[in-house]
């Protein structure tokens, strides 16, 4: 009996070794990237970097206008995608027949698979040209809204349909109106999922570049209205790394700012879910 046991032990050992190596190398690669980001970016980072406009094609100065533009684009994107996504998700869970529901879901899945450059083409043709919004923060934000919509709908829908069927039945048996049922019972219970959808949308929108180049443009100045062109942080990184010799340090610093912003929003949401939503549900 010792023979097969040692055989399987040896096999487990080798499998484990291979997998440790595989996972280790993945970790090492990824640590390499993040490490580079940190090492090369942190040197240029300072308070001034966050609060000043760029100068000398971005080699010196800061990224303040890009932060402002990014936030504006994000705000437009969310102000469009979140209400629309919430309403579509409510339709899917509350109203849709199985057939319609399946059709809408398939179409959203297809939308989620559309490459971001195609959204860029679409946004450029529709918002910039046909609707005459030009290269502007508004065009960029609306293009991103189309892009994050499936993400928002599907996460929100998952949260809504997790609300127990018993609760819905109870509400129906008491002849509560749909509006009351949704407002008082379903939405509070689905709030964490809503927030997760929101954060995923933020993540995708913050990271996007290709869809913005031809919609929001890349003027690296403080936007004065949403009709101005505005350069997002991601486009700034692209421009610095591609088109500015000796711009790598600033590109890394900007990348660091963007990644920190992304991770911070993720963490904030996780924290928010624990801090507000879950306790509130059990106290009230």
């Amino acid at each position: 009996m010792a023979e097969p046991r040692s055989h399987t032990q040896a096999r487990d050992f080798w499998t484990a070794t291979v997998l440790w190596l595989g996972a280790g190398s993945v970790l090492a690669l990824l640590a390499w990237i993040l490490g580079d980001l940190l090492l090369q970016g942190v040197g240029r980072l300072s308070w001034g970097f966050l609060t000043e406009p760029p100068s000398d094609a971005g080699r010196s100065g800061g990224v303040a206008p890009m932060i402002i533009s990014t936030l504006w684009i994000l705000a437009i994107c969310l102000a469009t995608a979140v209400p629309l996504g919430l309403a579509a998700a409510l339709f899917l869970t509350e109203l849709a027949s199985r057939r319609t529901g399946r059709w809408v879901r398939h179409s959203l899945d297809a939308l989620a698979a559309v490459p971001s450059i195609v959204f860029g083409l679409f946004g450029n043709a529709l918002f910039c040209h046909v609707l005459g919004l030009g290269y502007s923060i508004l065009s960029g934000g609306l293009t991103l809204a189309c892009m994050v919509l499936p993400l928002v709908v599907r996460t929100t829908e998952a949260g809504l349909s997790n609300v127990a069927q018993e609760i819905r039945q109870g509400a129906a048996a008491l002849a509560l109106s749909r509006v009351t049922t949704l407002r008082t019972l379903v939405l509070p219970a689905a709030a964490p999922a809503l927030l997760v959808g929101l954060v995923l949308g933020i993540g995708r929108a913050l990271a996007e570049t290709a869809a913005l180049i031809f919609t929001s443009g890349y003027v690296d100045r403080f936007p004065e209205s949403i009709h101005d062109s505005g350069r997002s942080l991601s486009i700034h990184i692209y421009d610095l790394s591609m088109n500015v010799p000796a711009g790598n340090d600033t590109a890394y610093a900007t990348a660091l700012v963007l990644v920190v912003l992304l991770i911070a929003s993720q963490q904030l949401a996780t924290w928010g879910i624990h801090r507000w939503i879950q306790p509130e549900r059990s106290v009230r």
Binding site: G170, A173, L174, A175, A189, S282, V283, R284
Partner: protein, 286 residues
Amino acid sequence: MTTQLSPPAIAETQTPDSVSTPDWAFRATDLRIAYEGKTVLQDVDLNIARRRITALIGPSGCGKTTFLQSLNRLTDMIPRCTVDGSLLLSEQVFKEQGFGDLDLGSPELDVVRLRRRVGMIFQRPNPFPLSIRRNLELPLREHGVKDPELLRRRIEKSLRDVGLWDEVADRLEQTATALSGGQQQRLCLARALVLEPEILLMDEPTSALDPLAAAVVEDLIQSLRDRYTIVIVTHNLAQARRLADDVAVFWVREGTGRVIETGTVAQIFDRPQDPDTEAYVRGLRG
């Protein structure tokens, strides 16, 4: 059918083969219910008497719960569920008379009017994830009760009706989901009673509870006798025997659920006519 003596209902409906119409709450004629085109229940002819307790018994999967849900149109929530045949709710159950019987099959049916008179208790207690008070206040406010004093009184009354007042009076603001299973089910009953319905539908109301809590809830149902029309689905034959005045036996024949026998509790349990009923109530089959 039932043998209760009462003046004939002033319904505009024709009841072909009954000479004296009893005081009924629901009347199903040739009812058929299907999910996605597949018939789950058919040939249901059933009168449910007012102010009595009717137990629906039978093995699992023979359409009892579906039938119960059709009584307050909760079948609307099941996608592609169709109800054919005639199902009437007597106008007797409404406070305001003169509108005639309610046709539960009508697409224009005002379900709000229906469900306000027909409360429902589910198998698993389903208090809303709100405070105890809000659980009772929500349906009241929804149906037009806004006066704080009136709200307070009706909440207290319904909690007293289910014997929960003394247990929760000092923690009305706490979340209802923190109550024990039996307390939750009594809260759900209170939530149904707070609207002052005429009819209560109960879908195995004690089966998810431990025996002690089940006994409390069952006693509570006993105490509601004579004041409400109660339709209760149960798998617990002893419970049916203890609670029910009338019994309807559901059975699957030729692939679909049917009502194979109806009668008083004594008729069904002591002198069953149908061999399947006999086997079932003796515990031999089903």
